[in-house]
Symmetry: C2
Subunit: 314 residues, 2 copies
């Protein structure tokens, strides 16, 4: 297993990316890493941090895709960027996973064009961890990849989310809730109303009904599904709680858990290999946790298990 990482993506790259690599190496000294970025910048930093290059390959990528560049255009015009080269290596099987805290759009477009979706997946998705009030974590998806969704899509998110919750979060037989505006089956917008019966009939998941806005943070369901528009609003509102608690000078373990750095980044689900998209403001801890997540996803073969569950449903 080789983990690939874009060292140039994100507001605090490459310095914080290098620190993340160092922290990861201290924990897992023999996991092979492949670092994509400008050699002339990276090598001195790696040297300075006294990082052993025994299990590290540095792949020179002289170009960078900026945070606000148009994804498709940037990938086409900058074939020597760290993201473009990284995806090239991923598609050729020279690395087993790839991650970046850089341009999210470029990461998604790169994923789309370089690796396959799992068989039967209509659209890949992205998820986020939502800390539960009484401990543990829930999974929310989609959080922005698919702003407009059809009911069949949400039904697949429920399956992929359930597998992820079981395999990666260690939740046995996770419960699934549909984000909705009321408890009754008939509640909701057209999408939620049409999705409810699909989830109810889906034998691959343990559906417990609707979850309302007030249930999102309290952990009524282990997996919460919704369209990417709603999910993105919830995600960013939840993330803001960490900053709000700090602004209010509250030191509170629950609100501290909303620090996105704890979770590293969000993996793209429904594709053949782990691709992890980090926050633009990722620091050392976030990079470390992204690397750990990639290693964990590969070791636990979460994608393969999703594939099996999706096949069983169809």
């Amino acid at each position: 297993m080789v983990i690939g990482i874009d060292m140039m993506g994100g507001d605090y790259a490459p310095v914080q990316a290098v620190k993340g690599v160092k922290a990861f190496q201290e924990r897992f000294p023999s996991t092979p890493l492949c670092l994509f970025g400008d050699e002339s910048i990276l090598l001195p930093l790696l040297h300075q941090e006294k990082i052993s290059l025994e299990h590290i390959t540095v792949v020179h990528a002289p170009e960078q895709i900026g945070m606000h560049e148009h994804p498709t255009k940037a990938l086409k015009e900058k074939p020597n960027s760290s993201i473009a080269i990284g995806f090239g290596w991923l598609s050729k099987g020279k690395i087993d996973s790839f991650m970046s805290a850089g341009n999210t759009g470029a990461m998604l477009v790169g994923t789309h064009f370089s690796i396959k979706a799992l068989e039967g997946v209509i659209r890949p998705t992205i998820s986020t961890i939502i800390p539960k009030l009484d401990g543990g974590a829930a999974l929310l998806l989609d959080v922005g990849l698919n702003a407009d969704c059809k009911p069949e899509l949400l039904n697949q998110f429920a399956i992929m989310g359930s597998v992820y919750a079981r395999v990666m979060l260690g939740i046995e037989n996770p419960s699934v809730g549909l984000i909705n505006v009321g408890e009754e089956e008939t509640k909701g917008n057209a999408l939620a109303q049409a999705t409810h019966p699909l989830l109810k009939e889906n034998k691959q998941i343990r559906f417990i009904g609707n979850v309302e806005g007030r249930d999102v943070l309290t952990g009524k369901a282990d997996v919460m599904v919704c369209d990417g528009f709603t999910g993105n609003i919830i995600l960013k509102m939840a993330e803001s709680l960490y900053d709000i608690a700090r602004h209010q000078q509250l030191s509170n373990p629950y609100f501290d858990r909303f620090n996105f750095e704890n979770y590293g980044g969000t993996p793209v689900l429904g594709v053949s290999k782990p691709v992890i998209i980090g926050h633009g403001i990722s620091g050392e801890k976030a990079f470390l946790n992204m690397l750990c997540l990639a290693q964990d996803m590969t070791n636990k073969q979460v994608m393969e298990q999703m594939s099996l569950a999706l096949a069983a449903q169809s």
Copy 2:
């Protein structure tokens, strides 16, 4: 001006409703109130609380609509319920506003059939107050009346919300934001993408662009517009912060402001007279604040001002 109130609606009615009336009467002893409910229950309670009946009319309504009854059916089958009779009085002009903490659906159906929408209003809406982190309040709408929306609807919400923010919240020239998944104009689901240009061209509002989930609580915009599905999720998530802070034993002025009782209830906007829908778990403070809100809305003629703004836009 006569304020009408359903004394039987809500989990803690009529006892808490009576206490709310008492508290209101202490502040505004000469404002005429009209109380709808079962006389045999209400009169002893009013007597017990030593409430003067000089400016109070008790209207006997022997039936009650339960919290989970089907709205249309219940209104038809229970013509002597407090909600049905209350709306009868409102439609006849015997009261100037009406409120209840009871069955929300029945309140909305009752509004629809008993009073007119303002001229030009495609669909009435409901809103909520979102406390801003640095003080003051923002208005979010729609929060559940219109789960599926068209762009024209959101454009009207922006106008109605701006008038409400100016007249009722005292915000001069309020800024309007579109709830969305990113800052760029082109971001969003189909609805948000189609709404953005309408808001941009709307001369009745001060549009400042998109607001993301992370901006909802920090007060980037004074008025935030979205479809009722998204808005309802945000509303209930925001409300849950009060309970979460209490659960975490945090005593914090900012999180305390999420106590819905501070705001009483949510007025239906875009109709000819104030109708206020309270929370099912309303207590004395919520009833008091609902009564104050109804009085304030009538005194400030907010509906008339909305009517003018809507006419100016069309």
